[in-house]
């Protein structure tokens, strides 16, 4: 069993309303989201192809991964789209204290969570440079 510790991760104003930001906490990269009435934190890694969830568009209590538009519930960590995928991301408790966001971070190795993603997936059209 790993011990957990509340870490002062960022100042509230570091994270704009309805956006996320990634913070390195120990060996982990954690994406913290500002939902207006609360902050939520999840591993900054989409269970699909490890996309940076902190760069996604927030939709209510969900975030949409910028790589292939997987949708992840920020409270439960469950993947909400595609609907038939039963994987999830690790979630972390977060609270505000003196204008800072504190994230409860485990000090042990990363947790395995749920089932991993199936290989064949309907990917969205990639955004091509040119």
């Amino acid at each position: 069993m790993s011990t957990r510790k509340w870490i002062r991760a960022a100042r509230c104003e570091d994270i704009p309303l309805r956006e996320g930001r990634a913070v390195h906490l120990g060996s982990r990269v954690i994406a913290i989201f500002n939902l207006g009435d609360r902050f939520l934190a999840v591993a900054n890694q989409c269970p699909h192809r490890s996309g940076p969830l902190g760069d996604g568009i927030v939709s209510g209590g969900m975030v949409v991964c910028p790589l292939h538009a997987w949708k992840v519930d920020l409270e439960s960590g469950q993947v909400a789209r595609p609907a038939d995928v039963a994987s999830c991301v690790e979630t972390f408790r977060a609270r505000v204290e003196d204008g800072d966001v504190l994230v409860e971070t485990p000090l042990g190795p990363e947790q395995e969570c749920g089932v991993s993603a199936p290989p064949s997936l309907d990917e969205r059209e990639a955004i091509c440079a040119g």
Binding site: A9, E19, S59, G130
Partner: protein
């Protein structure tokens, strides 16, 4: 022809009422025989329009023009004398004349009363105040549209169909709306209390407050409405009040003509009144004890009346199964038949899923469907309607009643319908009629089908069925695409553009809160961001949380979360100095890959987000917008400058075109090309916009593609000077910006509209239209800037910065 001679030969039919029932009946009469000389009086000043769709006009889903059913030309073609704005005040049945409020006296041989109904005003004290409205006709709708504005406190008295639709319309216009309903649940005539509960929850979810079991006793305010007072004492502030508490048949003329009148003008199964020369149809009549206020019965009555009045008496009107559908986008409510399940011998089948908001209840009697309530899922409504109308024995299919077998086409089993089955209940059009019309008239669009058969011109709920029939039967079916943006904001984009403009809305969150589910998603947020930027020519409130990551950091995200950097190299023309800087940057930031793109540019791949501002600064070049839906580049050939075949200076033209349009955003990416001769080395014929040089002129082509789809561009115009070519390109560019749906490439856009329409509305438009397009483009351009300048003035302090934890963590 001598008109006097004409009238002496023809019987004179005078119609009082220019609404849907009256005109539908006249249409039927004309089908029988044109033996009448017809005069129609209407007290409104409009031609016949679709009254059912007024709520769609209020909600901004349709324009007034969209709901016109019979234009002036229809009246002319049928030699109808139309008198608008005249109210008939008296009937002399003995003298066979009617008198108008303009003093006119008109003789008739046959009189048709189609006077409709008027809003029922409950007994409320001080109801005549500024700001108190009813919602019955186009003028009422216009008045409401003039008053409604964001933040206005509106109270709708009445929670029936009309009241709820009015409430949604006002809320869509930004008002804070409360519905006050006398009964214990909404739409109590169509729903049971459980259904009413679901509906109230839906209204709440949309941001409309519902107050039940409240009787309004007075309108407060001194001359101008300030609130409403309830029986029992409570009050509610209001700046606008709409009374939608029901309707009352207009029977005044029936009394004056000495007809038998109860609640409505009494008619028999042949639609005859107690006077053999006077007929009545629509909401003003009472048949078998019932006054109808829905469209389908009125049209059925019209058919019968037309047979009777033209001497083909025989068809009987035998009442109509009442059916109603709430016309609020995103709220599916359907009710038909007898919903009272307390009648002896009736059984009830129910299904509910509170999370999905689905509620279905069927009432059965004697092995037949007696009534249906559907909430949240109305896909099967037409099937239930058919079972109701035809009194189908359903004992054998009882197990599937709530979820009837979906046809192979996914629910609407148009193939399984019999030819005699009704498709459009409002207009009474059967499947067979539609198929015949498609074959005989060669129909291929919904517009043609509506025009020809009238199907789907009532409540519109059969539109998808009609569309499927067209798709299945018409060899050259053309789909009319009017998709809503997404579930969060259920509006078609062109409607929403109009609404946002008229409501002066400038931020995505504001739009989501007023017109959407207040959350938004990755589909609608970028779409709305684009729309606002375009509508206000860059003067909107930019909200980066509504932008895709590429548009937050002005670089293209890669599969590993790093970014690619493409500086602008106009026309693909660079210099040794620029190339040296690019090389230095690539080394300094250890860029894993440097690549020449297909667009004559250089891509630095694998840059970390935190390095982006420094990379841009060291490059000292503007953003190439390679990451966004915006102006990408103009690919050029060396034209007359070096090429021995070149006939136009395509390099300079391309660089200038890129300079004029760069930093602007578009519905989808815009790639351009300029070539100095028809050999087309820079592939201008497969670009969104292409300039093709030829001896003494330029061809400007648009809508080309060489991506997922390959399409040769259409010729927009051929012009002599380079300046003319650039102007034509700019006209098309701005037209595309303003009229395409988000994520619609020019090739789909041009194909959807047709190049002729595009030409007519751009290069061949009037001077004013062209100048206005260019002016809006100039305005947008003036407010646009190189996005990479945010390296010095970030939108947010942590836009590019990697946040470090405030305390050290020891593992």
């Amino acid at each position: 022809m001598n008109p006097l001679e004409n009238t002496s030969r023809q019987e004179k039919l005078v119609v009082v009422g220019n609404g849907m029932a009256g005109i539908a009946c006249v249409e039927q009469i004309l089908r029988h025989s044109p033996k009448f000389d017809i005069t129609i009086f209407g007290n409104e000043t409009y031609v016949n329009y679709n009254r059912i769709m007024l709520s769609a006009v209020l909600a901004g889903e349709k324009s007034i023009d969209d709901i016109i059913l019979n234009g002036l030309d229809w009246y002319e073609q049928n030699h109808i004398d139309l008198r608008l704005g005249v109210r008939i005040t008296d009937v002399d049945a003995a003298a066979k004349t009617i008198t108008g409020d303009d003093g006119s006296v008109t003789h008739f041989d046959k009189l048709l009363l189609a006077t409709g109904s008027q809003p029922l005003i409950p007994s409320i004290d001080d109801v005549k105040k500024d700001g108190v409205f009813v919602f019955r006709n186009l003028d009422d709708t216009r008045s409401l549209l003039e008053r409604a504005r964001p933040g206005l406190k509106a109270v709708v008295i009445g929670g029936g169909l009309l009241g709820l639709e009015a409430a949604r319309g006002l809320q869509v216009r930004g008002c804070e709306v409360t519905v006050v309903h006398l009964m214990d649940w909404l739409m109590e005539r169509q729903l049971d209390s459980a259904g009413g509960g679901y509906l109230a929850a839906e209204m709440n979810r949309m941001g409309i407050t519902v107050l039940l079991g409240l009787s309004t006793s007075a309108i407060l305010g001194n001359g101008k409405v300030e609130g409403v007072q309830f029986k029992g004492g409570g009050t509610l502030p209001a700046e606008l009040v709409v009374i939608a508490a029901g309707i009352r048949p207009n029977v005044d003329l029936g009394h004056k003509a000495g007809l038998e009148v109860k609640r409505g003008i009494v008619v028999n199964d042949y639609m005859e009144t107690s006077n053999p020369d006077i007929f009545a149809v629509g909401e003003c009549v009472q048949h078998n004890g019932i006054c109808y206020g829905l469209i389908a019965p009125l049209l059925e009555q019209g058919k019968v009346l037309a047979a009777t009045i033209t001497g083909n008496k025989g068809l009987k009107y035998q009442g109509t199964v009442p059916a109603a559908k709430l016309k609020i986008m995103g709220v599916d409510v359907f009710s038909a038949g007898e919903i009272n399940d307390k009648i002896d011998g009736s059984e009830v089948i129910r299904y509910e899923d509170p999370t999905l908001g689905v509620y279905k209840k069927l009432t059965l009697k004697d092995g037949r469907l007696a009534g249906a309530i559907l909430m949240g899922d109305t896909a099967d409504s037409h099937r239930y309607m058919d079972w109701l109308r035809s009194a189908t024995d359903i004992t054998k299919i009882r197990k599937q009643l709530l979820f009837p077998d979906a046809g192979e086409d996914g629910g609407l089993d148009v193939a399984q319908m019999a030819d005699g089955d009704t498709v459009c209940g409002c207009m009474g059009v059967s499947k067979g009629t539609i198929i015949n019309a498609i074959h005989e008239k060669g129909l291929c669009t919904m517009a043609q089908l509506k025009e020809c058969t009238r199907a789907s011109t009532g409540c519109g709920s059969c539109t998808s069925l009609c569309q499927q029939l067209l798709k299945a039967v018409a060899p050259e079916f053309q789909e009319e695409t009017k998709k809503v943006i997404c579930k969060c904001v259920p509006f078609a984009e062109d409607n929403l553009r109009e609404i946002l403009r008229s409501q002066n809305l400038k931020s995505v969150q504001e739009v989501l809160e007023i017109y959407g589910n207040s959350q938004g998603c990755e589909v609608c947020k970028p779409a709305l961001s684009y729309m606002l930027d375009m509508l206000w020519c860059g003067g909107h409130q930019e909200d980066r949380s509504a932008r895709f990551i590429n548009d937050r950091v002005h670089a293209n995200i890669q599969k590993d979360g790093t970014f690619s950097v493409v500086p602008r190299i106009r026309g693909g023309v660079t210099s040794p100095d620029e190339l040296r800087r690019i090389a230095d940057v690539a080394e300094k930031y250890k860029v894993p890959m440097v690549k020449i793109t297909g667009s004559q540019r250089i891509d630095l791949l694998g840059v970390k987000k935190a390095d982006l501002p420094k990379v841009w600064a060291d490059l000292g070049m503007p953003s190439g917008q390679a990451y966004t839906k915006g102006v990408r580049m103009v690919k050029t050939c060396v034209g007359t400058e070096f090429c021995r075949y070149g006939v136009q200076d395509s390099t300079s033209a391309g660089v200038e075109l890129e300079r004029r349009l760069e930093n602007l955003f578009t519905p989808h990416k815009v790639k351009m090309g300029a070539v100095g001769c028809p050999r087309n080395c820079a592939e201008a014929t497969v670009k969104d916009i292409g300039l093709i040089g030829q001896e003494g002129s330029w061809q400007v082509v648009v809508g080309g593609a060489a991506g997922k789809k390959v399409r040769k561009a259409d010729l927009l115009i051929t012009v002599v000077t380079t300046e003319e070519a650039l102007t034509a390109a700019q006209l098309f560019f701005q037209y595309y910006r303003e009229n395409a749906n988000y994520l619609e490439r020019t090739y789909d856009f041009v194909e959807r509209l047709g190049i002729e329409k595009v030409r007519k509305e751009t290069v061949y438009a009037t001077d004013e239209v062209r100048e206005a397009l260019l002016e809006r483009l100039r305005k947008s351009k003036a407010l646009s800037r190189d996005a990479w300048l945010e390296r010095d003035e970030p939108k947010h302090p942590t836009q590019f910065v990697q946040i470090e934890p405030l305390e050290r963590i020891s593992v």
